[in-house]
């Protein structure tokens, strides 16, 4: 019942904050975001699940009751966590609280609506990671779009309406493609399944019970469904060439929404890829290993090159997410314990690091009212702590040892290099590693231009150090990144436990 408590607390908080007067909204929202945070940390420490939730493992915090019945299919209310979803739930609660904290300065109108939507977003995200029945999961998956649409559309930058609609339409069309793909599988399984539950479908698929659907044979059906679901999730991740909504959404979104978007929403895509495509249809993933790896490597290199070409700090961070998500895809297609585990770990690590960088850019922007690298220089002189945090975040991104990014990328490269599923794995890995060099290139360049050197920024307003309430979330994130980097086992142990079964079918390897 703890997951339900988390969701209920967020929803109650959202309703109360929504109706509260604007001047209390921020404090109320911080207050309402704390109990879910505490409960999720408790859930982390009391976690007693093992194995993969979809493949017959012991599910923690499970709730199971029948919801609907349609013909021969039941739809159940089935919630529960395993080693993959637990870290993501914790990530959601932590980032929501920090994003709400960081919203103090940038959000100066319609506060109660803003914070109400943030808490509603948190509830939906927890639902996405907790749901173990397709229809229930889809309800939360779509529900996430609604608060994010408003967050971008109301509080965003000058082109916010365009960005919000583009985000909404892109991801909604992707959802329908994915929905059709999944239900093709359910109908293809015919009488061998009696519900739309993820565990039942996954186990039936892995047991090879997929039949024909009309004139489409089982093999073609599985491949078609894999492609449909992959396309649906690829938009969310996003991978090249489906990434064009991302820079618009990110650049126009207000900082706290960018933090949630990069920190958690992108992970919904990779999480779903892992849960659906790579867990349910390993055979098809193997067939398509080379195209998927090519897409991953293109995302890594092209995303990084795009970031290199930007002069807007927020755009740099936005495009670098495309690059980082490419690593996740590469780790997943490797089908090794370290590859898939590292990919899952990267989801959490990147959530913290990109959240940190977006927040830092936001803090700088609040003070300077510009994000252009060329406009500023020597910011370290005026904002020493913020500049220090920026440097820390950038190095985490580049994979400095003892920071979360290092552990994640190391796992992914180790796993991908040893892959038996992906042909020419060492070649793909080597090319992907080159992405790190480009990352270092654009981040070092951006830092050098904007942070160091003599101070130069002509303004008619005072530029001073950031306020305490802006710095607290930044420092917290830096500490968390160092914690995960120096003790990756904090999450990696449970992740590894849950990913073992996924890789076992295809030979595995480390």
């Amino acid at each position: 019942m703890l997951i339900e408590a988390l969701i209920a607390l967020c929803l109650v908080g959202a309703a109360v904050v929504f109706l509260a007067p604007n001047r209390f909204a921020h404090k109320l929202a911080v207050g309402f975001s704390l109990p879910p945070l505490v409960i999720s940390l408790y859930m982390y420490f009391a976690f007693d699940g093992s194995g993969n939730a979809l493949l017959g493992g012991d599910i923690a915090y499970e709730t199971f009751t029948q919801w609907l019945q349609l013909g021969s299919y039941t739809v159940n209310y089935h919630m529960g966590l395993d080693g993959i979803s637990l870290p993501l739930v914790v990530l959601s609660t932590i980032l929501t609280t920090l994003a709400i904290l960081s919203a103090w300065t940038p959000i100066d109108e319609r506060q109660s609506q803003f914070y109400g939507l943030m808490l509603f977003l948190e509830a939906s995200l927890i639902g996405v990671f907790g749901a173990l029945d397709f229809l229930l999961w889809f309800v939360f998956w779509e529900a996430v779009l609604i608060p994010m649409y408003f967050l971008i559309g109301i509080w965003g930058g000058p082109r916010r309406k365009y960005a919000a609609i583009k985000f909404f339409v892109y991801t909604n069309i992707a959802s329908i493609v994915m929905f059709i793909g999944y239900f093709a599988l359910v109908f293809g399984l015919g009488d061998s399944v009696s519900s739309t539950g993820l565990p039942e479908i996954a186990q039936a698929l892995r047991a090879g019970q997929l039949g024909s659907l009309g004139i489409i044979g089982p093999d073609a059906l599985a491949l078609g469904a894999f492609v449909a679901m992959f396309l649906g999730f690829a938009v969310k991740v996003p991978v090249v060439p489906f990434h064009t909504w991302l820079p618009d959404a990110h650049v126009e979104a207000p900082t706290p929404a960018s933090v949630m978007l990069a920190g958690v929403l992108l992970k919904m895509g990779t999480y779903a890829l892992l849960r659906f495509n790579f867990t349910m249809l390993p055979g098809q993933a193997e067939i398509l290993a080379i195209p998927i790896a090519v897409i991953a490597v293109i995302s890594i290199i092209y995303g990084a090159l795009l970031a290199l070409a930007q002069s807007d700090l927020k755009r740099i961070v936005a495009y670098s997410s495309v690059s980082s998500m490419g690593y996740v895809i590469l780790g997943l297609i490797a089908y090794t314990v370290y590859g898939v585990g590292g990919a899952t770990f990267q989801m959490v690590a990147h959530g913290l690091i990109s959240g940190l960088l977006f927040m830092t850019v936001g803090v700088i922007y609040n003070t300077t009212h510009t994000r252009m690298v060329g406009d500023m220089a020597g910011m370290a002189e005026k904002m020493p702590v913020t500049a220090g945090v920026f440097v820390a975040g950038a190095f985490a991104y580049m994979g400095l040892p003892l920071m979360a990014g290092f552990a994640a990328e190391l796992f992914i490269f180790l796993g991908a290099f040893e892959s038996t599923v992906l042909p020419y794995a060492p070649l793909f890995t080597a090319v992907a590693m080159f992405g790190i060099v480009i990352v270092a290139g654009y981040l070092l360049w951006a830092m050098q231009r904007s942070l160091f050197g003599p101070f130069r920024l002509e303004t008619d307003y005072e530029i001073g150090p950031a306020a305490l309430h802006d710095v607290v979330p930044l420092v917290t994130l830096v500490l968390l990144i160092i914690l995960l980097g120096s003790a990756p086992m904090v999450f990696f142990e449970s992740i590894q436990d849950a990913t073992l079964d996924i890789v076992a079918t295809l030979g595995g390897g480390i």
Partner: protein
């Protein structure tokens, strides 16, 4: 005792009649009553009783299997109770909202009276088991509706809409009557089960007469449900009518058309036997595809919010037509039950959307999307409710509309009509475009000029918020009704 329980089965219709009569009495003692709260309260209370009693009867299973009354002229079964529940809930919401909407208008008692009489006619339509009762009940529901559309006598739009509605309605009633007479000529009976029994012989002997009769009956229902190509009265009527009446017509009246269509076609014209004469399933397939596509595309091009909703309600008629278009006797009534569930959810979300329009008309904010700009700043709660209606109508999982559409499309796929489901799903995805325009206007766009909203009408607000809460609750709560609906559909076969 047998008698008593039989009368109890008609209690929902009785509740409508009794409260209508009560309004008669009040109006004769106190003409042009100033106690408009009393009038609205009687209407809402009567409708609520009808709603609660039909839900209780439905869930207690008293009417399972169906009970025939008056020598088989009426039948009370699961389907009739589900639809009486829909009529009760819509009438209750409309009655509540009207208390504020017609505050300053004359002839209040007549207004409520006509609403209740129309609701009585609809609940009889739900139970009608003979073509004669179908026709009489249909007229009882239609005549008050014409008058209600013309209620804003001094408004040219309202009168024009009513005239159009009346002329087209009269024409289609006569087509229906002629169709019924041809069916009678071919089968020698008006009772639906007897028509079915004689259908085989009629198909052999009088295929032409029988087939034309069925097609004319179909045309009559297509008018009532505002299906393409008999839809052109609907946008005018819904736009010109007072907004609560638009809500009433587009939700309850449409559902009434569907319940009759469900019963008449499934019971009286068994597709196995009449297919040689006229394949009505094929006719409904064409109707469904054309109706949902045209309704959605027309809705997308509107600038007037009320007119957009009118076209969207045509689109939704197209979705429900899938229930008959994907009909095949062997499928245990899944699609048919899904159609009922969709109409039930639709009764709340569509009524709520039109009642929000009523609220906007009450505030005089204007009619177009542009006029709604920035409304959320002044009325956040009502705008949250409208957002729920819009997203639920579009099929996003914030309300019951997601589940009921899922049922319909999954039912169609299960019956082997995957292409119907695909057309429906594509239309549904496109519909998000025009529904989200309302949301965008309310929340994101800035108003052209500052406006002041005077007052927050309590009853109208209560109706809108109630409809929104029920729409959301129906997402998980549909489980209360889904089995009843599938059983009701299965019982019909």
């Amino acid at each position: 005792m047998e008698h008593v329980s039989n009368w109890l089965l008609l209690a929902p219709a009785g509740a409508f009649v009794v409260s209508a009569m009560l309004l008669f009495v009040i109006d004769s003692f106190d003409p042009e009553s100033k106690h408009d709260t009393l009038l609205a309260a009687v209407t809402t209370a009567g409708a609520t009783v009808a709603m609660v009693v039909s839900a209780a009867l439905l869930l207690s299973g008293v009417a399972d299997p169906g009970v025939e009354l008056f020598g088989g002229q009426l039948v009370v079964d699961g389907m009739s109770l589900i639809f009486t529940f829909i009529f009760g809930s819509v009438t209750a919401l409309v009655g509540l909202a009207s208390a504020d909407y017609i505050e300053d208008l004359p002839h209040k008692a007549e207004y409520y009276l006509l609403v209740l009489l129309a609701a009585t006619g609809m609940s009889l339509m739900a139970s009608a088991n003979s073509l004669a009762v179908v026709f009489v009940a249909l007229e009882l529901a239609s005549l008050p509706s014409y008058a209600l559309v013309a209620y804003l006598k001094t408004n040219r739009g309202s009168v024009e809409a009513a005239l159009k509605y009346f002329l087209v309605g009269a024409l289609s009633s006569s087509i229906l009557a002629y169709g019924i007479s041809l069916v009678y000529a071919a089968t020698g009976s008006l009772l639906l089960p007897d028509v079915a029994a004689a259908a085989g012989e009629a198909t052999d002997l009088y295929a032409g007469v029988f087939g034309v009769g069925i097609l004319m009956v179909l045309a009559g229902f297509a008018f009532k449900t505002a299906s393409v190509p008999f839809h052109f009265w609907a946008p005018e009527a819904y736009e010109g009518a007072p907004a609560p009446i638009s809500a009433f017509l587009s939700s309850a009246s449409k559902a009434a058309g569907f319940v009759v269509a469900f019963r008449v076609f499934v019971v009286a014209f068994p597709i196995d036997t009449v297919a040689a004469s006229v394949d009505w399933v094929l006719a409904f397939q064409v109707l469904a595809v054309v109706t949902m596509t045209l309704g959605n595309f027309a809705a997308a091009t509107q600038e007037n919010v009320k007119r957009m909703l009118a076209y969207s309600s045509i689109g939704h008629a197209g979705y429900v037509l899938i229930a008959l278009a994907a009909f095949s006797p062997g499928t245990e009534g899944l699609v048919l039950g899904s159609g009922m569930i969709h109409l039930l959810v639709y009764g709340f979300m569509n009524t709520g959307a039109f009642l929000f329009i009523a609220l906007a008309e009450y505030w005089d904010v204007g009619r177009t999307f542009r006029d709604y700009n920035g409304l959320a700043k002044e009325a956040p709660v009502a705008c949250v409710a409208m957002t729920v209606f819009m997203f639920s109508l579009a099929g996003l999982p914030v309300g019951g509309g997601f589940i009921s559409k899922y049922y319909l499309f999954a039912g169609a796929v299960g019956a082997g009509f995957w292409w119907l489901a695909l057309v429906g799903a594509v239309n549904s995805a496109l519909s998000l475009f025009y529904y989200s325009r309302v949301v965008k206007a309310m929340w994101i766009d800035e108003p052209d000029e500052p406006r002041d909203i005077e007052g927050y009408p309590t009853a109208l607000y209560a109706a809108v918020v109630t409809a929104a809460v029920v729409t959301v609750v129906l997402l998980p709560g549909i489980l209360i009704f889904d089995n009843a609906a599938f059983d009701a559909a299965a019982a019909l076969l």
